[in-house]
Amino acid sequence: MLTSITSGTRNHIVLLGAAMRSQMRYRANIVMGMIGGICFQATQIIALIVTLHAFGQLGQWTPDHIAFLASMRLCSHALYVIPFGGIIRTSQLVMDGTFDRLLLRPVNLFTQIVARHFNVLSLGDGILAGALMAVFLPRALPNASGGNYAFLVVAILGGALVELSIHTAIASAAFRWKNAFSLHVLADSTISSLGMYPTSIFTVPVVSALTFAFPLSFIAFLPACALLDHDAGADLPSWLPWASPAWGPILVVLALLLFHRSIRHYTSPQI
């Protein structure tokens, strides 16, 4: 088990490194892509700043707390999209038959798909996420303890895994439907639009849906509730925010099982 995880990680790093080197040959594109990535995420951040300027506090959440929540979401997003962003290209591989070639190689199919392409826009996400966290962490948690920092790191990793699990589950659909790209776009825009705000400002059915049907709350909202001592709303149990980072690994394992089962439904377009 340990050996397969080690070799899987090594394969992932080697393939991702090759994808990055191929992109690095286009240096002007790297710079433009990074700026583009920052701009894309900055739209949401600017919207948030303007909204907070106009409306101030939302329920219990002060502007600093909301900005910290947005930073957590963006950090998790960057941590997912840099190493695993290639997952959204699964539909393209299935449609054009490139997946046939991947089947012949002695490397895990999921690893081959996620490490096949490196999106330079994701570097911009990472830069913006780091900058926002550096600004808003001291403002939201001025007296943070070592335990708080440790929980924050685990929570960001958990959030990244939740986002990965959502896109892996959607990618599984590509083996049945051929094209699931629009669902990736839909999931991405839902996470971007709603993930910046405290889920508790929505109505109870929406909070429940964003927690149990579409696990958006687990990406940043619930861990932020634990760190900032806020009520998660919708009568959610008080232990759930502290346990929320554990959902990431659980959901990824379930999504990977679904992904590998769904591969059985793949039919080559070249047959």
């Binding site: 583009g36 894309f40 106009a54 094209n179």
Partner: protein, 265 residues
């Protein structure tokens, strides 16, 4: 070279047919638009309910503004906002240049075709937005002034989109630049957050940019019941920006066509 109405209609109709030939893509585009508008309305309703501050716009005005602005932006700035980039990259621009109609006129006709093909989706989105609470009470005069402003905002946006895409004559890779344009345009036009909510210094800067005339102009006339004087000044600013953008587009094209290089030749 000014094209005849018949040529313009033929090119625009061909573009509409081309867009609507991908039926599944149209369905997905509609679904994405509806989800986007619904989520935005949900977020704004929640924000206004959770906040104790008195905003500069009423709840009803804000919801109507957000819905109308997002739907307008969806029609005006589609993901592929001009055919220029693809035609330069593939070399198809060579055949375009040999046609008896000017290249910019062809691009403009195609852009108008793309815009018209978005309108049925926009109509469905308007109905759904009304059902979700983004209703507004407006007068016939406001509607007429808004329609006039929409014409100029459409022409201005199509010209800006074309101007941006002409950059592809100088550089092959344009994705980063397009992303920057999209971001600046969406924020500064009011498509993301109503401009009335911007802090005063930011609003002052935005008022001197052309993007405000894209979405905020017609939306303000419709939703905020602008007076005749305000509406006329909004339309006058749109006309000035349209003329400036058209001039800049023409100069850029004249310079660009001299250094156009297709597939290395």
């Amino acid at each position: 070279m000014i094209m005849s109405l018949a040529s313009f209609t033929c090119l625009a109709t061909a573009q509409i047919r081309s867009v609507w030939s991908f039926r599944t893509e149209r369905r997905v585009a509609l679904l994405t638009l509806l989800v986007h508008v619904s989520l935005s309305l949900m977020v704004w309703k929640a924000i206004m309910a959770a906040s104790s501050t008195t905003p500069v716009m009423s709840r009803q005005e804000t919801l109507a503004y957000v819905a109308f602005a997002q739907i307008s932006y969806f029609c005006l700035v589609p993901w592929t906002f001009s055919s220029v980039t693809e035609r330069v990259r593939s070399g198809a621009i060579l055949s375009d240049l040999t046609r008896p109609v000017g290249f910019l006129s062809q691009v403009f006709a195609r852009n108008v075709g793309t815009y018209i093909s978005q309108l049925p989706l926009a109509a469905v989105a308007v109905i759904v937005a009304c059902l979700l609470g983004a209703r507004l009470q407006t007068s016939l005069a406001s509607l007429a002034l808004c329609a006039a402003s929409l014409v100029f905002s459409t022409l201005l946006t199509l010209a800006l989109n074309t101007l941006m895409s002409l950059v592809s004559i100088w550089t092959v890779e344009t994705s980063g630049l397009y992303m920057m344009y999209r971001t600046v345009a969406s924020v500064c036009s009011g498509a993301v957050v109503p401009l009335a909510f911007f802090p005063t210094p930011a609003r002052t800067i935005v008022e001197y940019l052309p993007f405000r005339s894209m979405v905020d102009g017609p939306t303000t006339i419709l939703v905020r019941h602008a007076t005749l004087h305000e509406a006329v000044s909004i339309i006058a600013v749109q006309i000035v920006w349209l003329l400036l953008t058209a001039l800049l587009m023409w100069v850029t094209w004249c310079r660009g066509v001299r250094r156009l290089c297709v597939v290395g030749g």
